[in-house]
Amino acid sequence: MSPDLRSLLHAAAPQPHEQVDARVIARRARRITMTRAGTAVATVLAVAIGGVGLASSLGERRPADVVGEGREKRTGIRPQPRPTVETHQGEGRKPPPGPRYEVVSGVHGDDWARKWRSKAWRLLVWAGRGSDCVQLAYDDTPLNHSLWCSHGREDPRKTGLGSSTSFFTGSEDGDEFWFVAGQVGPRVAELELRPDAGQPVSIPLHAAPAKVDVPYRYYAATLPRFDLAYVVALDEDGNELERKRVCGPGCQGEREASSAAEIQTYEAAPVDVAAKAAVFASSVVGGAGLLDEFGRRWSYRGISAEGSGFVVRFEAQRCTPPPYRPGQARCKPLGPARLFVGQDEDLFVVTGAAGPMSGAQRAAMLAGEEEVPADRRGWRLVAWAFARGRSDRAWNVTFALTWTGNIPAPPDYGSTCWMSVYARGGRLITRGPDLPFDAPDEEAFRVNELMTEIETDLEPGYVGVGCEPPVEQRQ
């Protein structure tokens, strides 16, 4: 033994200011229990303002939280009856920026014509950047909780049907109705709904407007009541290409259990070292100022093992800050970029960098090192930037979050995050609305970069992000 070291440590160990109060501990324990009684524990990922201190929380929960799955139910009779929509497999999110096109007027089904003769159901297509979204609209009102987006998931062009089927229920005056909507690829000639009981129902397909240049066709159809059904895609010869299970009211419990089991499996699997290295690389690149949507940035593309380390691939781009002209490409590619990551005992280190960057950025990246973290699945803030907006008080804010878990994640493994912007002195400027995210299921989407505009008289200094994961985080 080394008595000097032992005695040094015991002498150097700090003593508490005062003895612990058991009542304080009991209160904290109850607070942990209360926050975990719901579906999630809020975790603030980063704040750090001198003088204000850390806005970290080990169990803080926002009031009236709605987590991830868009199950907020709204009912009620209004002077002009409007149907309410509860999403079962769709997602309650805002559509991406981009042009909106009407694809189909009037959703097919006998009941519709009788109930809402003077109104029209429309299926809208949002051709956004990197994703296509379909949204139902009643009259001229898009229904927020009926939005479904592809976001780079299974490509219907490859599979025919993909994971595009969304099922919605609505109610008005106590009457419930069901409809299904989604996309199909060019191989699909016919679409059928085959319920567990009853006859198959043919679902019409509608092409997107030619000027959109979207290769999919869309469908939105009412359905007879069912517990379990399949949406079946057929080719020209009537051969089945693919089928997707659609859960009606009778099998929601089974679906929830299946989803919970899938999430449990995902949570139990250790996080790959490559996933951790990718997060480290994103953090290094963000720290060097290269995740900036207002200038030059490196857009994450993937990671692969090389030798005893990893090569993290990016696409270097030069981005134009807002405002944007219609049709203007915001970011122009400059070429490939790479970050080389090695492991030194329990540290990730940067062993090299190649691509468009300044000398200072290169130096900042080469100095990057971080302890290999324990397994966790969640969003980590890796970069933010500010740029002047269109008016004296307007600021554009961009920030980048990286997913720290493995990908792919289960389809229902989403989360909700919110952004706070602080002035340089630490004063809170604004707290943004919930921004629901899906955990990425493709390599390129490990890093989520978002932009918003705020108005303030203060000069923004820092961004803080809080997120609610879909399941309780392990400690």
Binding site: M1, S2, P3, D4, L5, R6, L8, L9, H10, A11, A12, A13, P14, Q15, P16, H17, Q19, V20, A22, V24, I25, A26, R28, A29, R31, I32, T33, L45, A46, V47, A48, G50, L54, S56, L58, S283, G287, G289, E345, D346, L347, E370, E371, P373, A374, R380, L381, V382, W384, R424, G461, Y462, Q475
Partner: protein
């Protein structure tokens, strides 16, 4: 009604946890906060924890985990601050030996820091250190050798023949 054994456990463990976390994180204020959070978790899980052979070891493991989470957030925040705020001038070294020892320990790589504190501060034998850290006895010995070597190079270990007990 609260189990009096739980209250006694918390009172006995709190100073020990503050000492452990203070050495681990290099900051007494943070140590007190994390120690309280650790005991809150003990409080919540006491029906199970008090049946364990070593509830104190469980609490120590929880404390280290919380400290690691805290330090990870601080690393991200420090890097974020550096992006926006110019780095300050290097601070003068502290005169107080206790503070410099804490800083030296806190500067060790995480695994080495854990091994040093488990063995030299908590007086755990190597077998328990290895078990707590999820490694082998030889792995724990290796970590201790390297940690002591680093501390020696900083002038904190004067015994030239550092011997690590196998018990």
């Amino acid at each position: 009604m609260t189990d009096p054994g739980l209250v006694d456990f918390c009172k006995a463990q709190y100073p020990r946890l503050v000492g452990l976390l203070g050495l681990y994180c290099g900051d007494r204020g943070v140590a007190e906060e994390l120690a309280q959070e650790t005991l809150a978790r003990v409080w919540r899980k006491w029906p199970k924890v008090h049946h364990l052979d070593r509830p104190d070891a469980w609490a120590q493991r929880v404390a280290i985990n919380l400290a690691n989470s805290h330090l990870r957030r601080r690393v991200a925040e420090r890097k974020a601050r550096t992006r926006i705020v110019p780095p300050r001038h290097a601070e003068l070294p502290a005169v107080d030996v206790a503070i410099t020892v804490r800083q030296a320990v806190a500067a060790l790589p995480r695994r080495q820091r854990e091994a040093v504190l488990f063995h030299y501060y908590l007086d755990l034998p190597l077998t328990e250190v290895a078990e707590s850290m999820g490694t082998t006895v030889s792995g724990a010995k290796s970590l201790l050798h390297r940690a002591v070597g680093r501390l020696r190079s900083g002038g904190y270990v004067t015994d030239p023949k550092e011997v690590v007990d196998v018990t």
